[in-house]
Amino acid sequence: MKRNGISLIETVIAVSASSLIFLLTIGVLHQTMLLSSKAKSRTDFHQSNIRLAKYFRDDVHQALQMKLADDGSLELTLKDSETVTYRMENGVGSVVIREVKSSGGENREQEVFRMLDTASCKFEIQDSPDRVTLELDSEIPGETGLKRVEMRVSATANRWPNVTAHLGATP
């Protein structure tokens, strides 16, 4: 006699197998979404780094004077007593702020560069020739207290007058 329908044990096995596959799929989906979000944040950070490096080099090349403040910020004095300040702020997220002020102290420009939450930024002034190094560090994920270098940019101050002197008279 042919048996019709399915037994309880078959149903239980089928439901268990389906649940297991469903859970695995959800897990993979969750991981994929997490990775996608991390990748996006990394890309943003990477682009922000490149933008910061470009601004930093351009500003230092034009700087006539450089000064490190007690709070770790860097102040560059350009032509016409214009000042450019780089400082790091750790609030909701970490950001590096670039502020341009005119000789009168009026804010002319402000740029914000988003960093990784665990990022820290330090400036170092060296001489012969006068140059500044910007170093961005971040905490290694999963290893509290251990830092790794994310970016290290070094630029020579007052660079353009040297270049124009080598090139000769420029129009």
């Binding site: 197998a17 993979v28 270098v149 940019v153």
Partner: protein
């Protein structure tokens, strides 16, 4: 006339094939996670290496001629980067030909896959040398 019976539900073999396919896809996706991590690490290291070359060239082009030859002899990768760029080697070429007087700096380090070293060029102020000048050097990153 014989009436054909239609099968309802799914056979064991169908369930088995579907489950195998799903597991294969999950396995494939899972294996991509460490690969993605490696790609990110490689991209970060490439950026660090590019900045290092730019930093070195920035200094080399800013110092006077005499100091430059000394600096080229003592070329070293910044100590801060030796953790990220294992056994990094900096090589330089000082060229003076029709394209101008220039320094070609390249950096290579231990990587999991074979990849070409990263190079960067900086032009120097022209100097009458009376012919083609070519110097090459190879210096290890670790002191």
């Amino acid at each position: 006339m014989l009436k054909q019976r239609r099968a309802y539900g799914s056979a064991n073999i169908e369930v088995l094939v579907a489950a195998s396919l799903l597991i294969a896809v999950i396995g494939l996706l899972s294996s991509m996670v460490p690969r993605l991590g490696n790609v990110w690490k490689a991209s970060r290291n490439n950026q660090l290496a590019t900045h290092e070359l730019a930093n070195q060239l920035e200094l080399l082009t800013a110092i006077p001629e005499l100091q430059r030859s000394q600096a080229l002899e003592n070329l070293r990768v910044s100590p801060d980067l030796t953790d990220a760029l294992h056994n990094a080697v900096l090589r330089h070429q000082l060229l003076d030909d029709a394209s101008g007087r220039r320094i070609v700096l390249s950096i290579d380090w231990e990587r999991t896959v074979d990849a070409k070293p990263i190079s960067m060029v900086a032009w120097l102020p022209s100097q009458k040398t009376g012919g083609e000048l070519r110097q090459e050097s190879d210096t290890r990153g670790t002191p």
